[in-house]
């Protein structure tokens, strides 16, 4: 068992005939993923990189048994693409598309909950379990199978850190890039239990950013419910106070959302905090050594 994707994962790519859809179909296949179908309305019957294209997700599911969708369609059409995936009964949808209005995401998130469909993203790198499957866009080169789980709100920073873990000779169980948008389908708190009960994960790396309160909430969860060691890094400690949203935003966050607040919450929860991205792999190796695991 792994977190969310495994060797039974069968990916359908929505928007496969677009440039990014095609590029990442190739990359997912090179990763060893079963990419079984693509969907682009009006292009049913064609093929992209050997993957059959269908007019609808329902048809793709019926004919190929697809059980994970990766959405690359442009933002104005992303909500509809998600509805289609959820209505076709797909339980996990990774939305790579960026610039989706948060009002749309609110609808998608709650609709997904009613339909039993989990969203990763939007505006996210997706999920990868080395040796098993990838549903998203994280570069293949950074991975190597292992027992370190990674969850992150960032994109390229995740690649940087995952790559660092590889470079010290360790590997990853599953890596999830949650996306950094105001409303995301799966938060740290939503993802933590998945890693906690994953027998293939010994330690979790949590990569956060300033802004919002997701890391504080993660710390709260870790403190009370999470049983594995955590190494955390928060980007933005040197950044000047942001100017987003003005008053009401400040009221909602009230004294949370700064790097200091996140770091102290995580430390209080027992996480090992890395000051810089290149410190993460060393700390991971240390904690694993303490565990007597590898």
């Amino acid at each position: 068992m792994t977190v969310l994707v495994d060797s039974g994962t069968r990916v359908v790519v929505q928007g496969i005939t677009g440039h990014q859809g095609t590029v990442h179909t190739v990359q997912m296949k090179l990763f060893g993923t079963q990419v079984v179908a693509g969907v682009t309305p009006g292009k049913g019957g064609s093929q992209v990189e050997g993957v059959p294209v269908f007019d609808s997700v329902a048809e793709a599911v019926a004919k190929t048994g697809a059980n994970v969708s990766v959405i690359f369609v442009p933002a104005p059409f992303a909500k509809d693409a998600f509805f289609e995936a959820a209505d076709a009964g797909i339980p996990l949808v990774v939305i790579v598309t960026e610039h989706i209005p948060f009002h749309d995401m609110l609808t998608m998130y709650y609709y997904g909950r009613l339909r039993g469909t989990r969203i990763i993203g939007p505006n996210c790198p997706g999920i990868a379990a080395p040796g098993k499957a990838k549903a998203g866009i994280i570069p293949n080169v950074v991975f190597r199978p292992g027992r370190v789980g990674v969850i992150s709100r960032s994109g390229t920073l995740t690649y940087e850190i995952v790559n660092g873990i590889k470079e010290v000779g360790l590997g990853q169980s599953t890596c999830i890039g949650l996306g950094g948008d105001p409303v995301i389908g799966t938060t740290f708190v939503d993802a933590l239990p998945l890693f906690d009960r994953d027998p293939d994960t010994d330690l979790l790396v949590l990569v956060g950013e300033i802004g919002g309160t997701a890391e504080e909430e993660a710390a709260e969860y870790i403190r009370h419910h999470f049983s594995k060691p955590v190494v955390a890094y928060i980007a933005g400690r040197s950044a000047p106070p942001g100017k987003r949203m003005g008053h009401a935003g400040a009221i909602i966050a009230r004294g949370r959302g700064t790097a200091a607040s996140k770091l102290s919450a995580l430390q209080a929860a027992g996480a090992t905090v890395a000051d810089f991205p290149y410190d993460v792999p060393t700390l991971v190796a240390q904690r694993l050594k303490e565990l007597g695991s590898r």
Partner: protein
Amino acid sequence: MVKLAEWRGKEIFRRYGIPVPKGRVVRSAAEADELLRSGALSLPLVVKAQVLAGGRGKGGAVKFASTPEELRAVVSGMLGMRFKDETVKELLLEPKVAVGRELYLSIALDRSAREPLLIASAQGGVDIESMADDQLLRIEVHPFAGLASYEKRQVATSFGLEPPASKELGNVLEAVWKAFQLEDAELVEINPLAVVDGHLLALDAKVVIEDDAGFRHPEYAEILDDRTPLEEIAREKEIAFVQLDGDIGVIANGAGLTMATLDVLAQFGGRPGVFLDLGGTDDPNKVTEAFLLMAKAHPSVVFLNIFGGVTRCDTVAKGLVAAMKLVPEEDRFPLVARIRGNNEDLGRQILQAAGITALSDLKASAQAVVAAERPRVAGKAPT
């Protein structure tokens, strides 16, 4: 994020049925004169500079006029004045009213709850951040249920209004919610929502529209927001660009990596001055544009830190090489390039051919950048 000027916010309010004063926008003293002469407005008036920053009252950006002479003087004095980095180009003229109570109402997104949050306070008119928590009523509004009647009753109870204002409140609340949802707003704020002659009246309007919803709202496309001129150019090119106080220019891809880069530079004593995020692109021209934009900011040294994903290392290398040929002599800057990830080797070769050595270790690269900043060498990248 598109922050709307007060008068645009009030136009939206009017459209959704929130009562606002009968005001007019002027861009010259002559226009103000004419409105007075034609009877469209009558004295006394309040004159409000249409700038986006707060603190207008204390900052002299809101004034009163009781005579035509006073009005002319106030309007002439205010137009063209600088207010916190903005130049005043428009004024809103409204009838002066006798304000009774001042209330506060807003809706914004609560990211953690994944629900819009309505905030109400019976003590409006002041800075909401200065209010005590127990003066604020917070109501999560579920997007599928809307603002329920019982929630409106909660607000009514906390306000304790008399009729007719108490009867008008339900409509105002519904309108605030509808405007938030249908205009794809990030924030709808009425502060103060005043009681004037027993009736509710929105004396200010702060409406912030979400950029990403632009495809549904072509009407906001042309409204300028609060970016600096360089930031504005960047927006047109779809490059995230933020100006800070230091003198190191940082070009990276992805917000998280960019922030981490700033953190690392700070560790070694570097002072970042321009923060430029390429985002995900596979167009070398966009990379070239980014470098040309960076050159205009005259950094003392530029740190290119790329982890290739959607944005591949070879794309960045091509864009950089092209830029180096286009940057005018006087705008040249020293460069430290660090590339990793997708097509790293190819990118390294392209840079090498142009005489640029790309590093791979982040820590060592950052140290090189700070070293290059210190001596303030003018010239090419350390090769």
